[in-house]
């Protein structure tokens, strides 16, 4: 029996690709290069779209070569995929969609860009896992967490769990690495033959009140959760901790991450557990994680007119809960909320964020939906002003540290403006 490490080091199957798929790769790369040189984007979507146009089977064929890891969940996909990429780079070149383009076009583009890579780490939008996993047949599927997010676009989270469960059942050779502290994730992962359970925590239980299997109430206790139907938190093989994690053999592995917060420690534990399955020791994995200081612009620090600004992404109640905990207590806070298609049109979720934790601080409401946020802050009794353009809001603040927290498209706009400055 070959280990994953041996398989990873074996020659990829690139030579077996059909002429049509090779043509698709060439066309996709050409389109991506054009898009980049015209500054239309990173090429992360158009390259894949063109490749799939030339060869509709391109994703399946391209994925036959590398050992593929899919990463999905509501929060932490991009971070965990970056962590896995850094770790698995110790084995060889890694293809990936680090730009966050996590639907079929973006995933295909990642493989088109590096068709020779022996390993691919791909983050996948929770809604697209069934379609993509059926094509890719991944070696590993990482299930991080499931909670409400963009309910008007994505739908209710329990339907996503049912779809994930169904696709996991069709992947008998895939190793599923899953967060056993999340009942929805657990329910989906239990459809796998031998899931690897990681206790990665889940602060937010607002979407796991009713059992995903039987609809009865789930009991949450400090030690875990269970339902009368028998669905119970499995015993974890790995356990996340703030500064160290416990590995499968019981050893404590120091993490010493540069990324802040509980959620990143959880992402790290899952990444390390997954990498071990693919042949990288936890110690080496942990040392690789220390090279990460920002994730696709998140946690990035910038100087803006005499202010030291840190940029954070938070786009749903579960993510906000983790973000509020890492905000520098001495900093001013600018919050930018948009409601484009990619953000979800509905801003109701702002009312599930405990903004009252910001009482006593100076907060600026920004973004397309600054007024919705301002009303939310009014009722949370948080002092605030409105200034729709987030970076202009920073400039108007008294000198000092500023935390800028933005949802998806607001974050993207801020990052672009900083890049252009």
């Amino acid at each position: 029996m070959t280990t994953y490490r041996q398989r990873v080091q074996r020659l990829p199957l690139f030579t077996l690709l059909t002429a049509r798929t090779r043509l698709a790769i060439a066309a996709g790369r050409g389109a991506a290069a054009l898009s980049r040189s015209a500054r239309l984007g990173s090429g992360g979507v158009i390259g894949g779209r063109i490749a799939l146009r030339v060869d509709p089977d391109a994703l399946r064929r391209l994925a036959r070569g590398p050992t593929v890891v899919l990463v999905t969940g509501t929060n932490g996909k991009t971070t965990t995929a970056l962590m896995l990429t850094r770790i698995l780079e110790t084995l060889g070149e890694v293809a990936g969609n680090g730009d966050g383009a996590n639907m079929p076009d973006g995933v295909t583009a990642a493989l088109v860009a590096k068709p020779h890579a022996p390993v691919a780490v791909l983050e996948v939008d929770e809604n697209y896992v069934p379609a993509i996993a059926a094509q890719v047949r991944p070696a590993c599927l990482v299930l991080l967490n499931l909670s409400r997010d963009q309910l008007d676009r994505v739908g209710e989270v329990r339907a996503i769990e049912r779809d994930l469960r169904a696709v996991v059942a069709t992947l008998p050779t895939t190793t599923v690495i899953a967060n056993c502290d999340d009942p929805l994730v657990t329910s989906a992962a239990l459809a796998a033959a031998r899931p690897i359970w990681v206790s990665a925590g889940q602060e937010w239980t607002g979407d796991a009140a009713a059992c995903p299997r039987c609809g009865q109430v789930i009991f949450h206790t400090p030690k875990g959760w269970c339902c009368a139907c028998g669905l119970t938190r499995p015993d974890p093989l790995w356990t996340a901790g703030a500064h160290t994690m416990r590995s499968a053999d019981g050893r404590m592995v120091p993490l010493d991450l540069r990324l802040p917060g509980r959620a990143n420690a959880a992402n790290a534990a899952i990444a390390v557990a997954t990498a071990e399955r693919l042949g990288v020791s936890p110690t080496i994995a942990a040392s690789q994680l220390r090279t990460i200081g920002e994730v696709a612009g998140r946690y990035r620090r910038a100087e803006v007119s005499g202010h030291t600004v840190r940029i954070l992404l938070a786009k749903n109640p579960a993510g906000w809960r983790e973000t509020l905990a890492v905000l520098d207590p001495g900093a001013s806070v600018v919050i930018a909320i948009n409601s484009s298609e990619a953000d979800g049109r509905d801003t109701s979720w702002l009312w599930d964020v405990p903004f009252d934790q910001l009482r006593g601080r100076h907060v600026v409401a920004a973004g397309d939906r600054a007024t919705d946020l301002a009303v939310r802050l009014t009722y949370a009794e948080v002092q605030h002003t409105i200034s729709p353009q987030p970076l202009a809001a920073v400039v108007a603040l008294p000198p000092g540290a500023v935390e800028v927290v933005a949802n998806y498209t607001a974050f993207r706009d801020i990052t672009r403006r900083l890049d252009d400055a």
């Binding site: 008007d152 109430v217 009722y379």
Partner: protein, 240 residues
Amino acid sequence: MPESTFGIGLVLPDILGTYSDAGNAQVLECRLRWRGIAATVVDIGHGEPVPSSLDLYLLGGGEDDAQALAADHLRCQPGLQHAAARGAVVFGVCAGLQVLGTAFTTPDNVTHPGLGLLDAITTPGAKRAVGEILAEVTPQLGIEPLTGFENHLGRTRLGAGSQALGPVRAGTGNGDGTEGAMTGRVLATYLHGPVLARNPDLADLLLAWALGTAPSALPLPEVEALRRERLRAVRHRRRG
């Protein structure tokens, strides 16, 4: 809780809270306290008895399983029905509207009995109604049009025992051109989430019913600005 404290019951926030409907309790509590009326929000969780002594009850939205679970619980623990019978105000949102009705059918084709506080029967529609919604309100209530967001599959038919809140101007509502339902002091709407934040008139109407007198004016410029913004957005979409 002192006798004079206004009691707001947040009914089953653990299972009827998918669309952040707990915000409505916060809006009501603030609107009372800012006027000098002490108020408290009582979370009534699943498995707990439902007190019948509160002044106002809120039911939020939830997914199908959760909604059936909620209806079962509230039929077994009839504190809410007792409170409604003595004139307490009940406000339901989305799944809350359906649970307050006589019956609702979930997409798995199972029909569940509701609480019967509204004469309303809900069945699944052909596709989910998702988006901004604008509805006029019957003149007898004397409040501004309702603006909000809806996201539901159910379509609701009202019987003679309930009346709609008014005609839908944009969006779906009940599915027959009307929005919401009302019987006495039980009122429900498909406008989900923090609907009372966007519709202060509706919030104060519920409070007036419960207090027996209209509360004093409470001008909040940002709330007015938000209403103007959302009304403009809906009208713009209807033209475009």
